[in-house]
């Protein structure tokens, strides 16, 4: 039986259900207890499960991740929160050199069922240190898995999968999607990590996007449909491991691809997707793989600057038009 939940409520429900089902699951982070977290992701959990299982921590991101790594390697299933994605930089060693590598360095002996949750993305005039989309940094690190849902249904299914996953996963919540509402089943369910979702079937061009941007891409697709441009929209949902097969298959059908993300274009994950597409579908491509992304600058504060900085539906429409404009083979 399903009903409408917001993106953040879906997150919260996944955590609550997994905590109810398994005492090994606990949460730790800044202000997540009585307050429920600055995004209310953890609202009500301390009231329901007590201070033993929902822990307010000091402002110590390195120790927060370390707490998760140490508790995971000794048998628990920690969910630790890094309030804003920008703050992963403060705990980067524990994420990149410890959580991601422990299992390998120990010759496989360690298992790290750790979930790191964080809020990413721009659009709130939160400026350069509270608005970044840093998924590319994490996806380049062997040992990590990275998830970034674009809607409430995916959020619950992916968060449930993260908590049940036996590797360190980073769940990126998009701050601008927290209030997004959608149908979500009551019972627990998993969306397997590494499976992309074809949100819209089309034949003219494949658009790959994630987080808030894939929703903008859907809007762009509807606009273009009016002009007879039939866009296929793919949301990888899991960014590491990336479901390349679904993407390649689609591009082999449409012969054109455009990638959309909020992170800066240079060195963004879009580069990897574009590189893989031209490697795997070279003979099928009728146009270069396009990338719609932020320019090479920190995220500006002023709304007029940020609105210009973040990819918009118009930018996506223009990018898709450019891709389909080229004469086919």
């Amino acid at each position: 039986m399903t009903r409408k939940l917001t993106y953040v409520q879906a997150f919260n429900e996944a955590v609550r259900q997994e905590m109810a089902a398994n005492d090994d699951v606990f949460c730790a982070g800044e202000d997540i207890g009585a307050f429920g977290g600055v995004f209310q992701s953890y609202a009500g959990l301390q009231a329901e499960f007590g201070k033993r299982r929902v822990v307010d921590t000091p402002i110590s991101e390195q120790a927060i991740i370390g707490l998760g790594v140490g508790a995971a390697v000794t048998g628990l299933r920690p969910i630790v929160d890094i309030m804003f994605m920008d703050f992963i930089c403060v705990a980067f060693d524990q994420i990149v050199n410890q959580a991601a590598k422990l299992k390998y360095m120990f010759g496989g002996a360690a298992t790290i069922p750790l979930t790191i949750t964080t809020g990413g993305g721009g659009g709130l005039s939160a400026a350069a240190q509270h608005s970044q989309s840093l998924e590319a940094l994490l996806c380049h690190i062997p040992g990590l898995k990275v998830v970034h849902p674009s809607n409430p249904y995916d959020m619950k299914g992916l968060m449930t999968a993260c908590i049940r996953e036996n590797n360190p996963t980073i769940m990126i919540k998009h701050k601008r999607l927290l209030g997004m509402s959608g149908e979500v089943p009551e019972e627990p369910y998993e969306i397997p990590l590494g499976t992309a979702n074809v949100l819209r079937v089309g034949k003219d061009v494949t658009v790959i996007g994630w987080g808030r941007m894939v929703n903008e891409a859907l809007t762009a697709a509807e606009l273009l449909a009016a002009d007879g441009i039939d866009v296929e929209v793919i949301d990888p949902r899991t960014l590491q491991p990336l479901d390349s097969a679904t993407i390649i298959e689609s591009v082999k059908k449409t012969n054109r691809a455009v990638i959309v993300h909020e992170a800066v274009r240079f060195g963004g994950l879009g580069a990897e997707v574009a590189a893989q597409i031209q490697e795997e579908a070279f003979d099928y491509l009728d146009a270069p793989v396009g990338r719609i992304a932020a320019p090479f600058s920190p995220v500006p504060f002023s709304p007029v600057l940020e609105a210009h900085y973040l990819p918009s539906v118009d930018d996506i429409v223009a990018g898709i038009r450019a891709a389909v404009a080229r004469p086919g083979a």
Binding site: D56, A126, F296, S302, L305
Partner: protein
């Protein structure tokens, strides 16, 4: 230490300037006229004022997410500050930084900072430059009680002591980090207990008493200028509004009684009372000051509202000093 009337009136003026700027910012935020986050300094005015009154424009400070008060106290101007909070081209950061990154190098304010604890290592760098250039300047790092739990604070404190740098570590202990009580995040009561672990003197002062803060800062700054190294000052204080924004959103992480007790000790009104008692100034003098500064604030709001927005096309300006063609290629 006997403070001259000029110094006392200067301390008072700095506090009133902060209070008026913050109250105005709060009103504008509630009227949805300010984008982004807003962390108000109301209640803590005595700390920034007491410290900055012993610093010149050549001395540097680093700040936090709660940075307007520090910039005002260091000599920041209302017009450019209000314009920055509104994201206008005439703001100190040309609308690129906003409240959490407000700064003005001309008065030695090296920036508010959105990353808890990140300012202290930068203050250490400024202190290093002062010692390196033997210019007699000091750098002061402002930070909250919660930020002393983060690694950057620890590394900065130890480095400043190891290299014997002219740095003042100013902890504003308002007993909360966001919505969590300090006592839940550390097993000690006084941040000053951390000073001995670095080998620097530490002193606790009443952060609601601008004179007490000032006297401690004067001593610490003199010590630093004499080449005797860093000091830690813990000012016990309180923020009157919510962690960000104004209202407490009905959050009960602080009791009304607790808030009321601290508001009783308002750093400005208690100081005015003392000065009147001592015959240093009259109610009328203060009313004139408030009126004058209120006008400045109104002017600043007008200035900010009339100011142009930044040019979106120039969003890439200021990323690098002297862009090279090759850099363009990165865009």
């Amino acid at each position: 230490m006997e403070l001259s009337t000029d110094v006392q009136m200067d301390l008072h003026r700095r506090m009133v300037r902060i209070r008026l700027f913050e109250e105005a910012a709060g009103r504008l935020a509630e009227a949805a006229k300010l984008p982004g986050f807003l962390h108000l300094y109301v209640g803590q005015e005595a700390v920034a004022s007491g410290v900055c009154a012993t610093l010149s424009d050549d001395d540097q400070i680093t700040s936090t997410h709660r940075g307007h008060g520090h910039l005002v106290a260091k000599g920041g101007q209302f017009n450019e500050m209000m314009a920055e909070l509104m994201g206008k081209a005439t703001g100190y950061c040309k609308g690129r930084g906003g409240s959490m990154h407000i700064s003005n190098l001309d008065v030695g304010m090296l920036g508010a900072n959105g990353i808890v604890g990140a300012g202290a290592p930068i203050a250490v760098g400024a202190g290093f430059a002062n010692k390196y250039s033997d210019n007699g300047n000091v750098a002061a790092a402002f930070f909250g009680d919660g930020s002393t739990n983060i690694g950057a604070f620890h590394e900065a404190a130890n480095m400043a002591c190891a290299l014997k740098l002219p740095v003042l570590f100013i902890c504003e202990n308002n007993e909360y980090g966001e919505f969590t009580a300090r006592r839940d995040t550390m097993a000690i009561t006084d941040i000053v207990d951390r000073a001995a672990g670095y080998g620097m003197p530490g002193v606790i002062v009443d952060g609601m008493d601008v004179v007490a803060v000032h006297e401690a800062a004067v001593e610490a700054a003199a010590r630093a200028r004499r080449g005797e190294g860093p000091s830690l000052i813990e000012a016990k204080t309180y923020r009157f509004y919510n962690h960000h924004g104004v209202q407490n959103l009905g959050l009960k992480y602080r009791t009304d009684d607790e808030v009321a007790v601290w508001k009783e000790r308002d750093p400005i009104f208690t100081f005015e009372h003392r000065l009147i008692e001592a015959g240093t100034a009259s109610r009328a003098d203060f009313d004139a000051i408030w009126a004058e500064l209120r006008d400045d604030i109104e002017t600043a709001i007008q200035f900010a509202e009339d100011s142009p927005l930044p040019d979106p096309a120039a969003v890439l300006a200021d990323v690098y000093t002297l862009m090279t063609p090759a850099e363009g290629a990165s865009v």
